[in-house]
Amino acid sequence: MTQTVTGAVTAAIRELVDDSDLRMIGLTIGGVYLIATVLAVAAGYDVGGIVNTLRAITVFAAGYGMLVLALNLHWGYTGLFNIGVAGFMAIGTYVTAILSAPPELSPGAGLGLPIPIAVLGGMLAAAIAGVLTALPALKMRADYLAIVTVALSEIIRLSIKSQTLASVEVGGLTLGTGGGRGISYPAPSDAATWLIELIPGGTLLYPAGATFGIARPVVSGLVYMLILVAFTAAFYWLLVQIGQSPFGRVLKAIREDELVASALGKDTRIFKLKVFAVGCALMGLGGYLWLGRSGFVNDLSFRPDITFFVFVALIIGGAGSNTGSVLGGIIFSGVLFYLPQFISQNFVRGARAPDTFVEALSGDLTGYLVANISALRFVAIGVLLVWLMQRRPEGILGHRMEAAAAIDLRGGRPGGHEDD
């Protein structure tokens, strides 16, 4: 019974999106927007507030989108179980921060290089870290690689946090991570104000926003949101290009059967090194643009939890599918992560929610549930992850039939399921 219902729903959705990836993404984010708008209206937000909520969701989704896509290159395309995402993000973000921070800015004085150069430096550093990780890990079993990468990301985070590297003299220059206090640097989000002033007539956006009750910082925030979305689209484009190239085909061959790939004369080690370098560089860039957007970070942003969240998003969307990666990013960050928090922040009735579960049992249980929804959402995410692994390990869009030939030989036939 439920199967026929879900089947009908799936069929209806499939007809609606017509297997168009862009439409699928558009409908998903549109659905999230709709729910968020309804909730925001119910919470009594004005237009500015609603726009700001949607902006926050989009920034979140774009950030996750970038990281999930980068991880998709490792896990989805090549089958490399990298759970050190946080560490590579941290390297990219911190190196960019140190390179771009003006020397007089404290804590954690830097080199004051131009931002594009600093960003390239950060990506290069993350890529090098990726290669250094991959070198010994090439022949490792998948579960060992997982443990090595997560241990490495903790080593990176603890090193950043340690007082030893907070401030180091190198050849007369003072550099450093700022230790536990974090590091300040020119904010990536300042690019938005710069862009608004650069484009002729761009400053007109501010009064235009004001007529709708949208505050000035929200306007520039919206522009930065568009920059992030553009980067996510660029990540997507790059991954599609890689996936369709001969290089990408070798990656998928490694994922399916490394022995066969090497028997065909491909040096799989070189391919793995390259894919680690590219993926980690993207993680570094994504970390800087998203987690580091305000111009300040500390080690707390790079705990292993974020790695697992990115991973969950990829698994929801479907490892191996770029569209799935973006969908997973939107669904995880919007529906599972942001909206529950939004509900608990806006719908808790003041201090009347009970403090403990036992008090709640004899009183306002609903109030307690809503107030603690931020913990419950992770329980739900955990249960969802288990359910996915049991029932649908390929996620929403994973393992879609891929044409091995350059010409699509499937013709007009309806795409069937390909189980391996």
Partner: protein, 398 residues
């Protein structure tokens, strides 16, 4: 075997060998440096001893928790990322029971169960309650892991290691945030300070005795003030504590050692233990031989879960505090211990736990305090690169 293939064989062995040689040299160098520091007087003997005892204590806890992780890793073939959070659940539920029994009448039942009240438990004040708590932690966690196996892992018996690993990440998230949901996200103080077992000088005599929580070494006047004082010899040095270890640590050491011995006897002397070892060695062969695999798996979860819960309970007893994510935070250390000892080896897990505990503790001699964990993780990565089969190569669950 032809010469050419023998040369090829040697060449393949060389990189691995040189890595192991380098690591051995590194260890010799570090131990030598400790001796040099001792001789020159940069560090004192009692200081080094206290650091090592601390490492051994926490290492035994890691080893105890590692036994379960190692067993599930070898018998079910997956890295269980929920093991740390299983410890958290075990510790919290065990302490809830201890609070209920030890603090009944001092606060409402709700406050006691949620560890909000403070009935002032410590091993000296309430020995029986703590022991009941240990047992409760073991029983409750064993039940929980069997339930989770039934719901989560059993439907996936045929899956590879990676889907199981990912499912265990889901279990870990659910456990951790259920703990946060019920107990809150604050760090909670659990125990009162306990007495200390101390090596001390008092009144011209060196000896071993038990100090209470607020007895300081230098204020003691006579040996009679020290409970259970055993004189070892006379000394001219002034009164003071040379070396001390809290009674909570002593309980951890004793309980962990007893349980490790019990696991050893179980695996070596009972038929079920033999079946478990057979399954870890070769699953299809074990099945063909008629070993009841599902029963073996259930027993694996029971033992592994109980040991994880007890280890969590004991770590909280030692540290005196608990938070919803403490198990998650030490999971990597336990993985390090298990991999160091060789996955599937129970003795390896114990030895690995001791090594990781001692490295984390002794590294303070060379590294600033923020970076000692880095040393422990570096050992983990080094072992995976140089000798991925662990220090006890080829030994599984024996």
């Amino acid at each position: 075997m032809g010469v050419a293939s023998r040369v090829g064989h040697l060449r393949r062995r060389v990189p691995a060998l040189s890595g192991e040689v380098l690591v051995t040299l590194l260890i010799i160098g570090l131990v030598g440096d400790i001796l040099r520091r001792l001789l020159v007087g940069i560090i004192g003997g009692p200081y080094l001893a206290s650091v090592v005892i601390e490492g051994v204590t926490i290492g035994l806890a890691y080893g105890l928790a590692g036994i379960g992780l190692s067993m599930t890793y070898s018998i079910l073939s997956f890295a269980n990322f929920a093991h740390g959070d299983t410890m958290t659940i075990g510790a919290m539920s065990g302490w809830s029971v201890a609070y209920l029994i030890g603090g009944i009448g001092t606060a409402t039942l709700g406050e006691l169960v949620l560890l909000d009240a403070n009935p002032g438990l410590s091993i000296t004040a309430s020995f029986g309650v703590v022991i009941v708590g240990v047992i409760a932690a073991g029983v409750l966690t064993a039940g929980l892991t069997v339930l989770v196996d039934r719901l989560v892992y059993r439907p996936m018996r045929r899956a590879d290691g990676i889907p199981l690993l990912i499912a265990s990440i889901g279990v870990a998230l659910a456990f951790r945030y259920l703990a946060a949901f019920f107990y809150g996200t604050d760090v909670m103080g659990i125990t009162q300070p306990s007495g200390k077992l101390a090596l001390l000088r008092v009144d011209g005599t060196t000896g071993i005795g038990v100090l209470t929580a607020n007895q300081g070494g230098s204020e003691l006047m006579t040996a009679g003030e020290v409970a259970g004082f055993i004189a070892l010899g006379s000394t001219a040095a002034p009164t003071g504590t040379i070396l001390s270890v809290t009674l909570h640590s002593v309980v951890l050491i004793v309980v962990a050692s007893v349980l490790m011995l019990a696991v050893h006897l179980l695996l070596q002397r009972t038929k079920m233990g033999k079946a478990m070892r057979a399954m870890a060695d070769n699953k299809p062969l074990a099945q063909v031989t008629g070993i009841p695999t599902e029963r073996v798996i259930r027993l694996t979860w029971i033992i592994g879960g109980a040991l994880a819960g007890i280890a969590g309970f004991l770590i909280v007893l030692k540290s005196g505090t608990v938070s919803f994510n403490f198990g998650w935070r030490i999971l990597l250390f336990i993985f390090a211990a298990v991999i160091l000892g060789g996955i599937g080896s129970v003795y390896g897990a114990i030895a690995g736990g001791l090594v990781i505990g001692i490295v984390d503790s002794v590294a303070i001699i060379w590294l600033p305090s923020g970076l000692t964990k880095v040393a422990a993780f570096a050992v983990l990565i080094l072992v995976l690169i140089v000798r991925p089969e662990g220090i006890f190569r080829g030994v599984t669950t024996a």
